[in-house]
C-alpha cells in the first residue's frame, strides 16, 4: 500500500475502513494480512484425474498444499486443514500451457501487423529515424536479447485473467519487437506483483525474420535477416573463444570488445535455452531447419502450420514444433470476388491436420495462441486439430507437459504429479468437449472459481448506460462509489465501478426486464474478491443489494448527469 511521508493519506484510511467492513466484518485484526488468510490447503475428492504423465485415475483424491500437489491417488488421507471440494462428476487436468505468447506484457494487439505470431511478429515499433538506420550487422539492428519478459511483466494485464479463466495457468511470454526481441519467461497466470508470476525468467531466445529497415536500414530483406542472425551467432562463437583466450593471456592480444547482444546470447546458449525460429509454410520450415543448423541450435520452430507437408523432415532433424493454433482464415475484408490460389485453399484446409501429422511422425510439438483472442478460441481450434486426426491425449500433452519439457520446467509443472506446482484446471467433462465448462482453476495452488457470464432472461426495460452515483452503508458508516456503465441493446452491461479501493471493470452484467445484476472484482486488501450488485432500475434511479464474501448491504444510486440533461 502507498504511504505518504506525513502519514496515511485519506484513500488509504478509507481503504482500511472498508477492508474491515467488507473483508472481515469487524472480526479480523487490522494488522492481519489478507494473504495469510488465504486458503492454501485443498483436497479434491472423488475426482477423475488426468495426470498426462500417466493414465487417468477415477475417483481419486488430490491434495494441494502450499502451492504444490501434496498427494494424489485413491485412499489418500485428507489433511485436517484442507478445504475439501467434492469432485464428483468433475475432471482435473494439468493447467494448460500457452507455448508462445505475450500474456502479462500488456501488449495491445498490433493493428498494423499482418497476423499473429509467425507473421507480424517482430514488426512494428517506432518510426524509423536517421539515427536508427542500421548500416550492417555490426550495428546490431533491432536486437535486445538481454531483455527478459520477466522484467517487463504487468500483473494487471487483462490477458492474464482472460487466459486463466479458460484453463491456462502457464505461458511462455516473450518480448515481441525486433529481430532478437529478448528472452521468454515461463510465467504462471496469477499473482499480485510481476515477480509472483515468474517460474523461469530466462527460458527461451526468440528470433524473428522481420527486419526493421525496408530500403532504409539493414536488414531490409528476408535474406538479410537470415544473414544477420547467422553473423551474430558466428560473432558469439568468436566472442566466447576470445574471452577465454584473453582471460588466459591478456598480454598476448588486443582487448576483445564487449558486446551486450553477444553476451546475452552466449549466456542463453550456455544455459541451454532453445532458440525459437519462425517458420510457417513448408519452404519456411525447411529453411528454418537449415538456419538452426547454421547457428548450431537445436531446431525449435514456431508457426509450422504447413507442417503436414514436411513432418518427416522435421522428425528427421528431431525438431520441435510450436504450432500456431490460429488456423489460417480468409481475411475478413478480402475481396469476395477475388479467386484465391488453389494452394492457399489447400493450405487452409490442411493446416489443422498439421498436429496429427506431427504426432504420427513422432515430432514433439506444443500449441501457442498466435494472437487468438482468448482461450475459448484456442481450445476450439485445438478441437479442430483433434477432428483432423490428432489423438486427444496428444492434444492435451501439447498443451501441458510438452511445452514444459521444451522450456526446461517439466520437473516442476506440466503434469499432475506429487511435488509439482499445483497448476490445475477442473472441468465438468472432457476438456475438448463442446459443452464442457471449466469450473475451477488452480494456479500455484490458489483457487479461482470460473463463472460463466449469465444471459438476460428477458429483454431489457430501461437503460443502464451512464454515470451513476452509488451510496451504501457499512458497519463503518456511509460509503460512496460511482459506476460508469454501457448497455448493449440486448441487455448486457459493461463498464467500470470506482470504489474506495480503485476502479474495477465489470466481469459480467445484464439487465433483464428492469432487474439488473453485475459483478466486479475488488481488492479490499490482499487478494481480489468478487462483489455482485443486483437490483432494479427505475428511470434515473437504481436500488438493490451488494453481496460479497462475508458481506452484504443495500445500496441506492442516481444518474445525476442524465437527470440534469432531462431537466433542461
Amino acid at each position: 500500500m502507498k504511504q505518504s511521508k506525513n502519514g496515511r493519506s485519506l484513500p488509504v484510511v478509507l481503504a482500511w475502513v472498508l477492508l474491515l467492513a467488507l473483508g472481515f466484518g469487524g472480526l479480523g485484526s487490522l494488522q492481519r494480512s489478507a494473504s495469510a488468510d488465504e486458503p492454501r490447503y485443498f483436497a479434491l475428492q472423488n475426482i477423475k484425474v488426468v495426470p498426462v504423465s500417466g493414465p487417468p485415475i477415477e475417483g481419486a483424491t488430490l491434495v494441494i498444499a502450499k502451492g504444490r500437489i501434496a498427494a494424489l491417488g485413491t485412499g489418500v488421507a485428507i489433511p485436517p486443514e484442507a478445504w475439501v471440494i467434492d469432485g464428483k462428476g468433475l475432471t482435473v487436468y494439468p493447467g494448460l500451457f500457452d507455448a508462445l505468447s505475450d500474456i502479462g506484457l500488456g501488449v495491445a494487439a498490433p493493428a498494423e501487423s499482418a497476423g499473429g505470431r509467425g507473421a507480424g511478429r517482430g514488426a512494428g515499433g517506432p518510426a524509423v529515424t536517421p539515427e536508427m538506420i542500421s548500416r550492417g550487422p555490426q550495428d546490431r539492428p533491432a536486437s535486445t536479447p538481454w531483455l527478459e519478459a520477466a522484467d517487463e511483466l504487468k500483473a494487471d494485464d487483462k490477458k492474464i485473467e482472460t487466459w486463466r479463466s479458460g484453463g491456462f495457468t502457464t505461458a511462455l511470454s516473450t518480448p515481441t519487437r525486433g529481430l532478437f526481441p529478448g528472452q521468454g519467461s515461463v510465467i504462471d497466470l496469477a499473482g499480485e506483483r510481476p515477480g509472483d508470476l515468474v517460474v523461469k525468467p530466462a527460458a527461451s531466445v526468440e528470433v524473428t525474420l522481420n527486419g526493421p529497415g525496408g530500403f532504409f536500414g539493414f536488414p531490409g530483406s528476408l535474406m538479410g535477416a537470415i544473414a544477420y542472425i547467422e553473423q551474430v551467432y558466428l560473432d558469439a562463437e568468436q566472442d566466447t573463444a576470445a574471452q577465454r583466450i584473453y582471460a588466459a593471456a591478456p598480454r598476448a592480444n588486443e582487448r576483445p570488445d564487449y558486446d551486450r547482444v553477444l553476451r546475452a546470447l552466449e549466456a542463453a546458449q550456455a544455459a541451454g535455452e532453445p532458440v525459437l525460429i519462425p517458420a510457417n509454410t513448408s519452404p519456411q520450415i525447411l529453411r528454418g531447419l537449415v538456419l538452426a543448423e547454421k547457428i548450431k541450435a537445436r531446431p525449435v520452430l514456431y508457426g509450422v502450420q504447413q507442417g503436414y507437408a514436411v513432418a518427416t523432415a522435421l522428425a528427421g532433424k528431431q525438431a520441435v514444433a510450436l504450432v500456431n493454433a490460429k488456423w489460417p482464415e480468409r481475411e475478413k475484408d478480402a475481396d469476395p470476388e477475388a479467386e484465391e490460389p488453389l494452394r492457399t485453399l489447400r493450405a487452409r484446409d490442411r493446416a489443422p491436420g498439421t498436429p496429427a501429422a506431427l504426432a504420427k511422425a513422432g515430432v514433439r510439438f506444443a500449441f501457442y495462441d498466435g494472437g487468438l483472442s482468448g482461450p475459448k478460441d484456442m481450445l476450439k481450434n485445438v478441437k479442430k486439430a483433434i477432428d483432423a486426426g490428432l489423438p486427444p491425449e496428444a492434444a492435451l500433452r501439447a498443451l501441458s507437459l510438452t511445452p514444459a519439457e521444451i522450456y526446461g520446467v517439466a520437473d516442476r509443472l506440466g503434469s499432475i504429479d506429487v511435488g509439482k506446482i499445483a497448476n490445475l484446471v477442473v472441468t465438468d467433462g472432457d476438456l475438448f468437449g463442446e459443452k464442457t465448462k471449466i469450473k475451477l482453476v488452480f494456479v500455484d495452488g490458489r483457487k479461482f472459481e470460473i463463472k460463466e457470464a449469465e444471459k438476460p432472461k428477458e429483454p431489457p426495460k430501461g437503460d443502464l448506460t451512464g454515470k451513476w452515483s452509488l451510496a451504501f452503508s457499512t458497519d463503518q458508516g456511509q460509503m460512496q462509489a460511482t459506476a460508469d456503465l454501457a448497455m448493449s441493446p440486448g441487455g448486457s452491461v459493461s463498464g467500470t465501478v470506482t470504489h474506495p479501493f480503485g476502479t474495477s471493470p465489470l466481469l459480467s452484467g445484464y439487465l433483464s426486464a428492469n432487474s439488473f445484476t453485475f459483478t466486479i472484482s475488488a481488492d479490499p486488501g490482499g487478494r481480489p474478491q468478487e462483489f455482485t450488485f443486483s437490483g432494479t432500475v427505475e428511470g434515473n434511479s437504481i436500488k438493490g443489494h451488494i453481496n460479497g464474501p462475508g458481506f452484504a448491504t443495500e445500496f441506492t444510486g442516481t444518474r445525476p448527469g442524465a437527470a440534469l440533461a432531462a431537466g433542461e
Binding site: 550487422p137 482472460t162 479463466s165 530483406s221 553473423q231 583466450i245 475478413k332 487452409r348 487468438l372 460463466e452
Partner: protein
C-alpha cells in the same frame, strides 16, 4: 467431413494432383527413349529422325536407330524437335522476400540461396517455356550485391533440391544508375546512401576488396600463429560480408555484374584486373558492342537482352545487334530474361539475333543453352545434347526458333517435370478440387455460425472480443509481407535487373 461426396472429390483430386504435380515420376524406370525426333544437339549439329536414350537421368546415347532397351519408356516424337533445356542466365524467380538487400552498398553477406521459394509458380511457368536451369540473382541496388544461386527448375522439389549441385558459386555486382540510385529517393529525413555517382560505385567496390585483402591477411596471420603452436592467438571474427570477396580474389567465386554503359564496363574490368581477378559475366551489357574487343580480351561473358532499350537514361544507346556483334568479336554471349514472363519464350528471344545480326540457327540456340552454361561454369553438365550430360531436354512441336514453337514436354535429369497434355488434364481436376474445398469451407463456416446461434452457447465476455485487423497467418503461396513501404519506392524502374 460429413459429406462423403465432397470428401471423396477432394481425395480424388488430391490423388490426381499428386500423380501429376511434382516429379511426374510415374514412368520412371530410369530408362527413356525419345525417338523419331529432329534433334538439335546445339554442339554436334542436327539429327533428323534421331533418338535420345536417357538412363539414370543422363543422356546415354544420341543418334539414329537406337533400339529401346527392355523396360524403357518410349516417347514417339515424330514431327517434333528436341533440344537442350533452356538456361536463363539472369533470373529473379523463386525468391522469397525482397530480392534486394538494398540497405547497404555492399550486401555480400546475403545469399539468394537462403531464400529459395520452391512454391513460386513462376518456376512452373518458366519450366513450361522450356527453361530447365536459371541463374537466380540478387537485385542491382548495390555495387556489390548478394550471392546468387543456380537452380534447376525441378518443380515440386524442395528448396535444397532445386539447387544445381556443383554449380560454381557467384555474386552479383551492379554499376550505374541502380547502385547510385538516381531513380530512387528516400523519404524526407532519411539520408541518401553512398554512393551517388559512378565514381562512388567504383570506390565502394575497390574499398571492399581492400578490406577483403586485409581480412584474408588477418586470418593468414592467425593461422600462422596457430601453426607455430601459439595457444594465445585469438581467432579473427568470421565476416560473412568479406568471405565471398576473398573467394572472388582467389578465383573461387564468379562475378556477375549488372552494367550498361561502355565506360563503366571498362572501369569494372580494369578494377578487377587491378585486383587480379576476372569478371565472369557482364549482365545486360547493353553497350557491350562498343567495347567487345576489350570484353573478349578480359575473358568476360556477355549476357544481354534481345531488344530492350531506352527504359532509362543509361539504356538509350542499346541496339538489338548487340548480341551478334559481341559474338563476332569473340565474346561468349547469352540472351537472358531478367523477367519471369520473358523467360517463357527465351527461345524466341534468341531467334531475334538471327534477324538482328545474322546469327545462324545454331549460334542463336547457343545463346540460351550452351553459352549460358559456359558462363555459369556448368557446361560439362548441361547446355547441349551429348552423351554423358544431364538429360535436361525440351520437346517442341515446332522448331524452337519459330514463333509457333510450344514446349510439349520438359525433362530435367531424365524426369518429365512439365507435360503439356497432362497439364491440360490437370486443370479440370484442380477446378474440381477448388470447388470442393470452397464448398467444404462454406459448410464448415455455416456449421460454426449455427453452433454460435444455439441458445446457451458460450458467450464471450467482452474482454475476449478480439481486436479487428488480426489477419490470418501467411498462406503457403502468399508472398511474404514486406513492411509497408513509402510511396517513393513503388515506381522504381528497372530495379530488379
Amino acid at each position: 467431413m460429413k459429406n462423403p461426396s465432397v470428401l471423396g472429390t477432394i481425395l480424388l483430386a488430391g490423388l490426381f494432383a499428386g500423380l501429376l504435380a511434382p516429379a511426374l515420376a510415374a514412368q520412371d524406370s530410369g530408362v527413356t527413349l525419345i525417338e523419331n525426333a529432329t534433334i538439335l544437339t546445339v554442339t554436334k549439329g542436327t539429327i533428323e529422325n534421331g533418338s535420345i536414350l536417357i538412363r539414370n537421368g543422363k543422356i546415354a546415347q544420341v543418334g539414329k536407330n537406337i533400339k529401346a532397351p527392355e523396360g524403357a519408356t518410349v516417347i514417339d516424337a515424330k514431327g517434333m524437335y528436341v533440344t537442350a533445356g533452356i538456361i536463363d542466365c539472369h533470373s529473379h524467380i523463386a525468391v522469397e522476400g525482397n530480392v534486394n538487400e538494398g540497405s547497404v552498398a555492399v550486401s555480400s553477406m546475403v545469399g539468394v540461396g537462403d531464400v529459395i521459394n520452391p512454391d513460386d509458380i513462376d518456376i512452373y511457368r518458366d519450366l513450361a517455356g522450356g527453361v530447365t536451369t536459371a541463374n537466380v540473382l540478387h537485385g542491382s541496388a548495390n555495387p556489390i550485391g548478394g550471392l546468387n544461386q543456380v537452380i534447376k527448375l525441378r518443380w515440386g522439389k524442395d528448396a535444397e533440391e532445386l539447387k544445381f549441385e556443383g554449380a560454381p558459386p557467384g555474386i552479383k555486382f551492379a554499376l550505374g544508375e541502380n547502385p547510385k540510385r538516381n531513380n530512387f529517393n528516400p523519404p524526407p529525413g532519411i539520408p541518401r546512401r553512398y554512393p551517388e555517382s559512378r565514381m562512388g560505385v567504383m570506390d565502394v567496390i575497390r574499398q571492399a576488396f581492400v578490406d577483403a585483402r586485409e581480412y584474408k591477411k588477418s586470418w593468414d596471420e592467425y593461422n600462422k600463429r596457430v601453426a607455430a603452436g601459439d595457444k594465445a592467438a585469438i581467432p579473427p571474427r568470421r565476416d560473412l560480408k568479406l568471405e565471398p570477396l576473398v573467394e572472388v580474389l582467389e578465383g573461387k567465386r564468379y562475378v556477375h555484374s549488372h552494367c550498361y554503359r561502355a565506360d563503366e564496363i571498362l572501369q569494372l574490368m580494369r578494377l578487377a584486373e587491378e585486383f587480379g581477378f576476372r569478371i565472369r559475366t557482364l549482365q545486360h551489357v547493353l553497350e557491350g558492342y562498343r567495347v567487345a574487343d576489350e570484353i573478349a580480351a578480359h575473358g568476360a561473358g556477355g549476357s544481354t537482352f534481345s531488344d530492350w532499350w531506352a527504359y532509362k537514361m543509361e539504356a538509350y544507346e542499346a541496339i538489338p545487334y548487340n548480341a551478334a556483334m559481341m559474338t563476332r568479336r569473340g565474346v561468349i554471349v547469352s540472351v537472358n530474361s531478367d523477367s519471369a514472363e520473358e523467360a517463357r519464350h527465351l527461345n524466341q528471344e534468341a531467334a531475334k539475333t538471327m534477324k538482328y545480326g545474322g546469327m545462324t540457327e545454331d549460334e542463336a540456340l547457343r545463346m540460351v543453352t550452351i553459352n549460358p552454361a559456359i558462363q555459369l561454369g556448368i557446361d560439362k553438365r548441361v547446355g547441349s545434347i551429348e552423351p554423358g550430360k544431364d538429360a535436361d531436354l525440351v520437346i517442341y512441336n515446332h522448331h524452337p526458333l519459330s514463333v509457333y514453337a510450344v514446349a510439349q514436354k520438359v525433362f530435367i535429369d531424365g524426369h518429365i517435370y512439365f507435360d503439356r497434355e497432362k497439364d491440360l488434364a490437370m486443370r479440370e481436376a484442380q477446378a474440381a478440387e477448388r470447388k470442393a474445398l470452397l464448398e467444404k469451407a462454406k459448410k464448415a463456416a455455416e456449421a460454426e455460425k449455427k453452433a454460435g446461434e444455439k441458445p446457451g452457447a458460450d458467450r464471450k465476455p467482452d474482454s475476449e472480443k478480439k481486436p479487428d485487423g488480426a489477419a490470418p497467418p501467411q498462406g503457403k503461396d502468399e508472398k511474404p509481407k514486406e513492411p509497408p513501404k513509402p510511396p517513393q519506392q513503388v515506381a522504381v524502374a528497372g530495379f530488379l535487373d
